[in-house]
């Protein structure tokens, strides 16, 4: 698991560009495909059994076809779909490479390719888990590729399609694409809330001075995951910005306000990540200062003890010497005088340290 963390690419160096090699965690189930077809009036959902039936819908089709593919680890499947939809080999390579960073690209005005990450925060291990998503959008179809259907992330959109002839049903595949991306970005906020909660716990434990080595480790893993999250969300910002600016024929003007709204949300996510990272850094500084502060107080305790007892021990040592000729030893009150002197010197020491505000 740790191993995985800083792994970039298992793709064989020297493989021809556009080669379909799956890069990601091992997956053992088969690819599931379902097709949803809808317009304002009707909708159908079916599970696709044979790849041969997954063909590009004719341009004149009155229905919007959404092909939802769960599993990107079988080159044969991805390649076949690529052939049937006439997709560029580099695009297919990106679909299968779970290390691919988010981006959007338009291919000759014929279809638009977008890829981004679904994020979950594993509260137990304090680790960010990402799932590679890709979308291909044509005039009247949308293909979505998911790395692994963990929590059936697209279900809410499907529910809305099934529920009523609402906005999603009334609009084209561009709005569907937006709706799916919006879902993903909404999850970013959930991740932020999870991280924020963790950060708050750390903040409290540092301010209330009960933080130890473990707090430190947790702070570090939190910062690391924030760094990772930033790396995965940052390109999404540019990606949506390009969709807004590069007036593509595939995206209708009515969808623009929604994309702009989405853009704002992503910017907000990034702002929060930056604030969190800054806060984590500040917290570490506070923690370091707290340690120094505590060290100071420990050292003061030690010094006070030493400064009081070292002279005393010396004095009693003097009168423990065995010289024949030590006149003080034979006086009547010598012992009591020495006790008195020691008492006074102790009091003076205490006063001295109080004045210097050592305790």
């Amino acid at each position: 698991m740790g191993k995985r963390r800083y792994k970039h690419s298992e793709k064989k160096v020297g493989a021809s560009p556009g080669s379909l090699i799956y890069v990601g965690q091992e997956i053992d189930h088969k690819t599931n495909i379902r097709r949803i077809e809808y317009n304002e009036a009707n909708y159908t959902v079916e599970t696709v059994k044979r790849l041969a039936t997954c063909s590009k819908p004719v341009e004149t089709s009155p229905l919007i076809s959404w092909l939802d593919i769960d599993g990107i680890h079988e080159p044969a499947v991805v390649e076949r779909i690529g052939q049937q939809y006439h997709l560029h080999p580099l695009l297919l390579e990106d679909v299968m490479n779970s290390q691919q960073k988010p981006k959007v690209e338009e291919y000759d005005g014929a279809y638009l390719f977008a890829t981004m990450k679904m994020l979950h925060f594993n509260v137990k291990t304090q680790e960010l888990e990402s799932e590679h998503l890709s979308f291909v959008m044509g005039k009247n179809y949308l293909i979505s590729f998911q790395e692994e259907r963990k929590s059936d992330i697209f279900q809410p959109v499907l529910d809305r399609i099934q529920a009523s002839a609402g906005k999603t049903r009334r609009n084209g595949p561009d709005y569907l694409l937006y709706a799916l991306m919006d879902l993903v970005v909404d999850h970013y906020f959930v991740v932020l809330d999870n991280i924020g909660e963790k950060l708050e716990i750390l903040e409290n434990s540092i301010i209330e001075q009960v933080a130890g080595q473990q707090t430190l480790t947790r702070m570090y893993t939190l910062k690391r995951e924030l760094t990772l999250m930033r790396k995965l969300v940052w390109p999404v910002r540019e990606m949506i910005n390009r969709m807004v600016l590069e007036e593509s024929d595939l995206i209708k003007p009515a969808t623009m306000p929604f994309l702009r709204d989405l853009y704002d949300h992503v910017v907000q996510v990034l702002d929060s990540i930056d604030s969190y990272r800054e806060l984590a850094t500040s917290l570490l500084d506070v923690y370091l200062s707290t340690l120094s502060n505590r060290m100071n107080s420990v050292m003061k305790t030690l010094t006070i003890f030493s400064a009081i007892f070292m002279p005393l021990t010396f004095i009693v040592g003097v009168y423990g010497m065995n010289f024949d000729n030590m006149p003080e030893l034979h006086t009547r009150n010598g012992y009591f005088v020495v006790l008195g002197v020691m008492a006074v010197s102790t009091v003076l020491m205490v006063i001295y340290f109080r004045r210097r505000r050592w305790f």
Copy 2:
């Protein structure tokens, strides 16, 4: 309260975009609405009881209509107003989402939507409190939404309208919008002054070396609130900049110098936030150095005590041994010679440490 601090969105993930769900602190009173209508000659202020009367004024109306809505937590109210003024559902969603960051947007040249935060600094808890404000401006009307009417923040502008036929009365809704935004930005300076005062207290306590753990915690919370404030004010800069650059028909040229002036003020606020954050960081460094300095002095005290008393204690220990054959013990002045030797060695130690400037 702590909980609230790092919370982003309670909006249900997967809700349809444009759904009206209130995101913010719970509020228990009802929405208050008042309508102010004015031109250079007349003005009226009335409390709106029935939502049905809140309709968009006709374009030919000679009066400017300001609808001031206090409360954004009732979806029914916001939706009704949205219908009567023909507002975009995404806009209404932003009005109700107190987590929405500041922005400005024009909808088809018909109306302009702006949202920003009113800020208060709670001097007691050292926390920044923000209030979500939204404005919708049309040809001859302005709608203002406030999260909660804490201190009746728009009163000064209303007072000016009532006082005389001044600039506000002579100008259109664009000037009114500017006047309200100016009021909000003026409050930013008040917040800065509050924070500056706190910072100064911390600065003094650090420089005069009376700072302790609590100073540290306060410094941290101050930095955290500055980070938060920056996050809330930074988009206001871009927002006003866009209002100046995107020559909208809704904003008259005569209002431009005022907006430019407002822009300058926001830039000044941001500059001050940055300086404050920098100063806070510098102060923390100074504090850390102070701690190190103090530790050094504590350690020196300890070392001086040890270096003086350890050898002395050893010497007296030697003559406390019970060997039968210890010639020195039986000499006449042995005791006094030893006392003398110890005195001299102490003096030498003191001189040595003085030379190394240890005290």
Copy 3:
């Protein structure tokens, strides 16, 4: 004084934009006004007693009129001048607000408004003192507003006008404006030299390891003032840049090389501020390391003493025990053997610590 440092605005929140309220330190003398009129052939200097005589010169006047106003705290005076020269109310507000940041603005091609800060470095308190300056330049006149005539800062330019029919006399009000701004920027270099000198003293005291808590405090105040200076000079850069780029009819092409030169100077000032700040940060790091270094050496001293005398004290303690049956005590050379053992163990300790390079 400390209070002043982080104060932003005493302007009443909610006051109408353009209201003339003086923001700055209290001033007790009256406003002084003098008018200088000159062309290549003649010049006159007179003190203005009655405001009524301060009127905008006619466009056809062959003389350039420079109205130098010392004092911006009397709203009546500023307002009257504003009326007689037809100046925008926002401009007058900026003239009176000593917190206004530097900027330049052209009003309808009729006149140009520029405001910036004169800076002095108070070597005694290590604090930067700023004076608010504003300039209004028309076709054939210039008005200069000074917060307080401390050192009669414009005198050198006046001297040049009086001395001979040089460049200033041959050129228009745009060159005069440049000459005054150049004077202000020249003073920035003086401030830099003062700060540089202070920095050098600190650098030496840190490198020669005589730095203490006071050095730390001074370093901090220096950094704070550099941060402040940067905040006040940074906008001057943009301001002059705009004067160069926005080809205004009010600035003649012949004056451009001079403005570009001025721009270069401001950039140089900013570069130096940044270098100084960086150096101050590096110095602080060096100081912290020095402290750690010193602490290390203190601790080593302590440890060496402890490591040598603790075992010795233990040994002599052993032979100070009063057991009846301690055979060593009754041997003839026991005492001397013990002394010898202690000497050898001390030597070994010393060798050990020498080898580990502890002293």
Copy 4:
């Protein structure tokens, strides 16, 4: 080896620009040249023995000619090739200067010059090793220069040419150039993986608190190599960007998607470098805090021992004094009372430190 690390240029200062002087590590073998000629139908590979045969192919040649030169240290060879292909002297200087940073340049639309670094991470020394590569691409030829054929880095592309009439064979020299550059960038990911693995080891040793001085040194060398790698990869980003934006006639539109893909990969490499550097910095902070934490615990141990035994030693010292008149010594249970008092005081001390959570 260390020496080499911060060496820039051995080129004689004052040499005429365009002089051919080899700058790099000493090489003892001779230059090897091979020529690959191919089109979709055929291909030939031959080793070039005589430089005279290396002439620029005629424009009408149906074959693409790839001249692969292994060795850039012989001025005579490089100059001769330069003459036969009519290359600019500055270009040849860059080919021979292994310190040259990556860049791309087009010479009069006749040929395109690109230079970049092949990177290897020497896992043993933790050092980055770079190899200087240059490419000259004309209408129907490509010349590649390698500093040293360490691992025959271009072999995979040659293999693909030989294997089948695939993409490389079907396309022109621009695709070949892309394929070679892609190979180099693929190696960057391998380097990243190596560094990531090292970083992970360091991370674990710090979190599990077994890190020592050596971890520190390794962390530093890792950061240094990351800084170096960034310096070598950063210009590659701009270089490919220019190839994409400056629509050169030498690069066919069909190759553009591949270059854009390559660009994305380089950006991803840079992002990862930045994350790694950030993580390394965070780790160092964690390590420092861990040290402070551990110091605190050491000091507490010391203080607890001192605080318990110093008073005890004092007490027993008191009753080791030899005064004639010490009444306690002659009581029956004095000894046991003292033992009891000491036991109680020890218990109290232990309770006290427990309460302050010192252990």
Copy 5:
């Protein structure tokens, strides 16, 4: 010398712009002037004795005239040359101001003014020494101003002119200007190599843990000089960039590739400066951690000694008490039992600290 370091300008504040006042170190020799005239066929070098002979060459002259002036401290000389070549007074002011930062400016297409710094690294004092250079280039002439002819820096170019009718002789004054600037930039690499060498020494001494206070001071001065160097080289980048972009008639297209090459070199210098500064910062962090590490080990030594000997000393103290009734003292093996107990407790302590890996 230290004084000089942070000095900006001795120019009298308030002096008229364009006044010729020398700003720089005092110089005691006279200005030396030599004139080199050349074309592809011929060349002459002569020392100029009388300023009157330094006149601007006629436009039709077939020779290129290079006037090399060594000394910029005599206003009379500079002014006279300015008159004879019709140069702008601000230009002359910049020539004489050794604090002027690098820049390039074209005056009405008639001549081009460029100024930059020659840099030397004084290996002994670890200080950067800069020499102010200025160039004025016309259609067929070049004037070069040097602050002080330390090492006759332009000699290599002169040698090339004298050696053969090479590139320099075949090209115009623009190539000559490039050649001189290239020479200066080549020296930057030499300075970098010097600094790199110093940095490497510091790196080694820190990694091998033999660094002390002096290493710290050297690190600081190195960082300071790097900051200074960056300040002096950074504007050179923009300056050459402007020469490349602003297609001046004075620079022939054939010279452009050379200028672009020079630009690349300057960027490389800046990249290296930044890497060095980063490395220096990282090194300082490593050093701080090393100090903490060492402190930890010192403290452990101390604590181990204390933890072992404090209890022992206490035990022997117990049996040194003089109570009448201490039964143990009179047992036969009491002494040996105590010795045994002490031996065992010591062994246990040692095991305990070993387990906690303290040594």
